[in-house]
Point group: C2
Chain length 514, copies 2
């Protein structure tokens, strides 16, 4: 044990980190990333050790924000520091490294210590990497899903039968959820939809809907709204449902691996109490899942896991070779979705997709005819009425018209120098250009595709338009648009020949959105 | 690109880290652990991004020490910040995660970026974990060894034939190297011995020899000494030979995995230009390697790798069930070694071990009779003469006598409450008690074993003695000594019965010393 004087560093570590001088650390025989137990009066806490040769002087304990708050320490407090054993979860991480299949209790410990920030980046990375290398067994996926749900809050809506929808993502412009929730809600099904913000894509559902109404709602507020109007459309990150997910994503993202995809999705569904679920799997060379065979395998894993968690699950492999609809970017997509629900008119692919997916959910109840019913709900204006309710309850302006959405004032049209037919659209390029233009941060930024696959193009026709809030961002996006192939225009039969040169590597655009 | 005002944080990251406000990071579309390119006047640098919500304000770039130095930035400098691609090595780490066998060039990139601190902890951990999970191929081990040697300095001694020795460690009190170097040096062989400091053990060879002479020598000084007297005994960490090793150990240590053992050892041997090498593999239930079969397998891997690196290698499996000699702790061990070389007398196991290992090295030249010659060199006083030269050249006092060594003034003797024979000694407990007593930091701390395996014990005989510099450390060590079984004393045949209850788990004492 050693007595040290507290020094509040004013630094955020998001973990309980204490910075010790190297001398002091040696004195109590701890090394960086070992744990120490801190005692200050009657308060105790465990912290992860970092060491410094100069920044913290001998006799000082440098406290990062989280542990300082936990200990209620102020500068000058005398803190007792004891070497502590590593958390038991670390023993199980080491077992996982050694190839052991972990049981429910062991996985629960690891997820709990992840959520409580008791594990270092090295330890969490070893766990995630080992899961990736060994593959996760069906029992482990179940245990992870449960643990990730149980270590967060849950949305308890009593006896209601909860419906839910999830897309594994990977296709830009996919405003399906924003259309589906009002449709399904109008059909009388309960759908408390939590959604994500964009990580690597131009827009997440939360980013889109935020153009019409706030999405950072508290759990109690969500309950009230769903009890009143059947549905909501909120940002999952605001409600602390399955919080382990975000922490695992921070490890997976730089490594471009995704071993926790299934538990990540299903823990959230478990936390909202879903009974019926449709998983949208965009499929195609331009999507995350390349072939229908792969989509089937993935869907079966979701279905199997759903069974074990009491969630009746159906998978839907959808066409993912090009963006959904014409608009990409939060406000542009919100506008497109609003127009579809107001008029029943809009891009055919978008309407077809949402009625298919909504239909699958409605068929859980109606047995058949869901797709037709979904279309009827759009065309009758009931979906738009539900959308207005939704916007109103979440605190937005229900009378907002498409023109009220703030689209970036700076724009440029890219025109075709040849005539022909659009044979392919590069999703990765669309993402890259849109992000350069400012999405998802600048809600008005994005792209509008004037042409899509199969469309005839005359020389001089606009292929797509880029929007930005600021001129330099527009220029940045334009520079990229000029340097890469975004669309292939040619005679129908040129398609395969065109595909070869456009196989540019986009290692940055592994898309981790869930 | 964004222009930010430099703010020197006064923090050490040991990596080029720049702390951006979340807003600014979003603005240039970078996430934590992404890279940015910094430009200040004519200076450029790549940094790893961390983000903060408050600690760094919008418009500021918080610079950690390393990148601040590299950019020669001062507070208020205006720095241009561009998003940058991840280093190519990260692509190869991702390939390794995907199961690819990496080639020499790819491994070289990863090791280089490790040494230049261009990889985050998450990325390095993923690499080390993947190596551990997949196993490292023979070709990869060769490539790693070469890369780890080439990314550091090397000791070029011209045409001399270099001999070397290494122990994989794991047994406390092992002062073999400190005895072997003067013996082999006196025999006329060139042995520029680099050694390590303790990480988890009570003493490393560098810690021991430092009680007699400085070990932090520069490369040029080492050259001078070896050219003059054939040998040296220095701390490897001071000379920047194979610097990647230390960085990998920082990842391996908290995970208790060791996938880089072979390249770690052999890169250092390559860097000093070794031609002949003996690898000591302490073997036994109390050691790292449990059986002679395991020892053979490991030795064969070293031999095979040696062949590919041009180092003729012999393995030696040695008895590792109890400490070597009677002394544990830097000064106590230095004293024991000094006595052996001065008098030719001392613990039989220690003398037997060092003459065996030295003999193997000498047999590379003499073909046979090395062990006998080694013993002759001790008994003739030639080894002691060489030790005095060694101490003198490295800047110590060559006339130091055993009593000149500073042993901790606080001590306590642990006595036997029964009579019998010592049937086992628990190496882990010895380590734990010695470290609690202050080793390796307090050089005078440690233990002296009055009894070893097979020794007769009468009731009241001292079993072992604990030494410390400070009373509270002695008490801390004593508390541990009283709570765990250190030695088994019983009738000879009780041994197996005694072994069962002492199988206490010591998860903390995975011993990473190399």
């Amino acid at each position: 044990m050693i007595k040290l004087t507290a020094r509040i560093l004013g630094l955020e570590a998001e973990k309980p980190v204490v910075l010790l001088n190297k001398e002091d650390a040696e004195d109590i025989d701890v090394r960086p990333l070992d744990r120490v137990e801190l005692v200050l009066g009657r308060r105790k806490g465990t912290a992860i050790v970092n060491t410094a040769a100069h920044f913290v002087k001998p006799g000082e304990a440098g406290l990062y924000g989280e542990i300082a708050d936990h200990m209620r320490a102020i500068n000058g407090d005398v803190i007792q520091v004891f070497p502590a054993s590593p958390p038991e979860s670390l023993i199980h991480i080491r077992e996982k490294l050694a190839g052991k299949r972990l049981n429910e209790k062991e996985i629960r410990m690891i997820v709990e210590d992840t959520v409580h920030r008791k594990l270092s980046d090295i330890e969490m990375t070893a766990f995630v990497t080992a899961l990736y290398k060994d593959g996760v067994t069906s029992a482990e996926v179940v245990a992870l899903s449960k643990a990730m749900a149980l270590t967060g809050k849950s949305l308890n809506l009593g006896k209601k039968e909860i419906y839910d929808k999830h897309s594994i993502g990977g296709v830009p412009g996919d405003k399906t959820s924003m259309l589906l929730v009002p449709i399904v809600g109008a059909a009388g099904l309960t759908i408390p939809k939590t959604s994500s913000r964009a990580i690597t894509s131009p827009a997440g559902t939360a980013d889109r809907f935020e153009c019409l109404a706030p999405v950072d709602l508290e759990l109690e507020e969500i309950k009230r709204i769903v009890n009143k109007i059947n549905c909501c459309l909120v940002w999952g990150g605001a409600v602390d449902l399955a919080p382990a997910d975000d922490l695992f994503i921070q490890i997976e993202y730089p490594l471009s691996i995704d071993p926790l995809l299934l538990p990540s999705v299903m823990s959230m569904k478990k936390a909202v109490g879903a009974k019926y679920l449709v998983i949208d799997i965009p499929t195609g060379d331009e999507a995350k899942v390349k072939t229908t065979k792969e989509a089937e395998t993935l869907a079966e894993r979701f279905i199997d896991l759903g069974k074990k968690l009491g969630i009746k699950t159906v998978g839907a492999s959808t066409f993912g070779e090009q963006p959904i609809g014409r608009a990409i970017g939060p406000a542009l997509e919100a506008r497109e979705a609003l127009e579809i629900l107001m008029t029943g008119k809009g891009p055919e692919d978008t309407i077809d997709k949402v009625t298919h997916i909504a239909g699958i959910l409605m068929d859980f109840k109606m047995k058949k005819g869901g797709k037709r019913e979904a279309l009827r709900i759009i065309n009758s204006g009931k979906a738009y009425d539900k959308l207005k309710q939704l916007i109103d309850e979440q605190g937005g302006n229900p009378h907002a018209k498409p023109d009220d959405l703030n689209i970036g004032p700076e724009s440029v049209r890219i025109k075709s120098s040849i005539r022909g037919t659009v044979s392919w659209i590069d999703n990765h390029s669309i993402v890259e250009i849109s992000r350069a233009a400012g999405t998802p941060k600048d809600k008005g930024a994005g792209m509008l595709l004037h042409k899509k696959m199969g469309d005839r193009v005359r020389k001089g026709d606009t292929l797509f338009e880029i929007f930005a809030n600021k001129k330099y961002k527009l220029e940045r996006a334009l520079k990229i648009a000029n340097s890469i192939h975004v669309m292939g225009v040619g005679k129908k039969m040129d398609m395969l020949l065109e595909k070869i040169p456009r196989k540019v590597e986009h290692p940055k655009y592994f898309i981790l959105e869930r």
